[in-house]
Amino acid sequence: MAVGLALAEPEPARAARLGRRLARNRLALLGGTVVLLFVLIALFAPLLAPFEPIKSNWLAVRKPPSAAFWLGTDELGRDILSRLIWGARASLLAGVVSVAIAVLVGVPFGILAAYAGGWVDALIGRLTDALLACPFLILAIALAAFLGPSLGNAMIAIGISATPIFVRLARGQTMAVLAEDHVLGARAVGCPHRRIVLVYVLPNIAAPILVQATLAIAGAIIAEASLSFLGLGQQPPAPSWGSMLNTAKNFMSQAPWMAVSPGLAIGLVVLAFNLLGDGLRDALDPRES
């Protein structure tokens, strides 16, 4: 183990180098800032929202943007800005939780496949192929249909649909780590499997998984918005950007403003996660840029 640690670059030095490279990438910084902004909006939604997000106001039905209602009101007189602010919670929560499910399920299976090899690897590989064959959203729709429509089930459905990518990534990265001399040495001197995975494999595969997770959050946010748009995610009256668009679609000629801001919010936060993910990837592997 001592040999391994002596050969591998110390973790803090690697993190600092990664941080410096990331700081030089303006687009990634912009993405990170926007992500942070949305996280703060979601956390402080009760303080930031000017109105109650689910309270109807029959005197302000479908009002265009004004000084009182900056982004206008919806078909029940609810303030769109307040619903947008609260909707950030559903979107970010869905993004983070579903990717966490995918990472927590996918990474151990990927490591197991690489570590065990043989029929275990073949079985996990074919199962991953089969899951990848089912189109992401169609599988998520089917899972949400059988589990029942709710934000929680949508997160599970998106998480399961996103799992195969992490299985493949973790498997590939683990195979590369296991072939390194210091790991071969550690295995040769009888280092227990658990220790090899915890000390050698996990720290070395963490960075690419973090990059993939950042990009997967972007996909998961779109997937949650899509499921909510179809009525299979967040259920009314709780606000979510996707369900706001679902309602807005029915009032396009009477209240077009209802459709503009939720879509822009989804696009902006997804773009920010994509920029951050691309920046992280470039910082990890400068040849990519």
């Binding site: 064959a133 169609i138 059988f146 077009p256 696009g267």
Partner: protein, 313 residues
């Protein structure tokens, strides 16, 4: 070449079988008694017993799977709980609409993505490259159903240029068909165009570094001819094969696009089935989409071998 294709076919068999296992397992997720869930509004004990017998719900799960698989091998995808029609028939009637939408969207994606990718690669590091990359990133980030809503708002509601929804068969009225399909194809195509642009850019960058491109330039051939005749022709190989793998994205996107533009295709079928709790239809759609994907990736592999002379021998 035949051996390579056959080897790929053999690998596809377990994948197909596992797709059927996943699709079958979906019904195990139903909370409570699946017979009650399948019965829907029906509460008559006799009808429920009939459903239990029909779906073999009283048998062990592996036996249920094998019986279901036996049905599949005869082309029996089950019966729609809502309409009473065979699921295979329902899917077959909706599939041509979605295939038309997917093909038109792919055309849009290629028409935008390939030239943009070529321009970005030729001017690597310049303003065009940065612009194309940013537009591609925006294309991936903007949800296509929102783009659809915005287009309806502008083109149909405000300018009254194209119909906002509906579908006419191309055999009935080709002009009307095109009018109803332009916006959905554009909406679905732009997201894929972004992916195509990235594939083309990266393939072109690899090809432009090759010796034969340098030789063509050294011979004094005009740059446009070098890029199109010598570089693009070779760069298109990975783009075409990777393009076939976008079927999953196309089908997922089609579900939302069909919902926005009320197009009666495969995607609308599955969403409607979800709300009427027509579980066999949902399963049938996932199965067809999964099998379609396996078939397309097989096709991509075969195309790669057929189109690449180095792999043919």
């Amino acid at each position: 070449m035949l051996a390579a294709i056959l080897a790929r076919l053999v690998v596809a068999v377990p994948t197909v079988l596992l797709v059927t296992v996943i699709v079958f397992s979906l019904q195990l997720l139903l909370p409570g008694d699946p017979a009650l869930a399948l019965a829907g509004e029906e509460r008559d004990p006799e009808a429920i017993a009939q459903i239990r017998a029909l779906h073999h719900l009283d048998r062990p799960i592996p036996v249920q799977y094998l019986l279901w698989l036996g049905g599949l091998s005869r082309g029996d995808l089950g019966t729609s709980l809502k309409t009473g029609l065979p699921v295979a028939e329902l899917i077959a009637s909706k599939l041509p609409v979605t295939i038309e939408l997917a093909l038109l969207a792919m055309l849009v994606a290629l028409a935008i993505g390939v030239p943009a990718g070529v321009a970005a690669a030729v001017r690597k590091g310049g303003a065009i490259d940065a612009g194309a990359n940013l537009v591609a990133l925006a294309g991936i980030s903007i949800p296509n159903f929102w783009l659809g809503i915005m287009l309806i708002l502008l083109v149909s509601v405000r300018w009254n240029l194209l119909p906002a929804s509906g579908y006419t068969s191309p055999f009935e009225d080709p002009v009307r068909n095109l009018q109803t399909m332009i916006m959905p194809a554009f909406v679905l195509g732009t997201g894929i165009a972004a992916v195509m642009m990235r594939h083309t850019r990266s393939a072109m960058l690899t090809v432009l570094r090759q010796d034969y491109v340098r030789t063509a330039r050294a011979m004094g051939l005009p740059e446009g001819r070098v890029v199109v005749r010598h570089a693009l022709r070779n760069a298109l190989l990975p783009v075409v094969t990777l393009g076939t793998l976008e079927l999953g994205t196309l089908l997922s996107g089609a579900v939302l696009t069909e919902q926005v533009f009320t197009i009666p295709g495969f995607g609308k079928l599955v969403v409607d089935a979800v709300f009427t709790r027509d579980y066999p239809v949902v399963q049938g759609v996932v199965l067809c989409a999964g099998l379609g994907f396996v078939l397309m990736s097989l096709l991509a592999d075969v195309l790669y071998v057929v189109l690449n002379p180095r792999l043919r021998s």
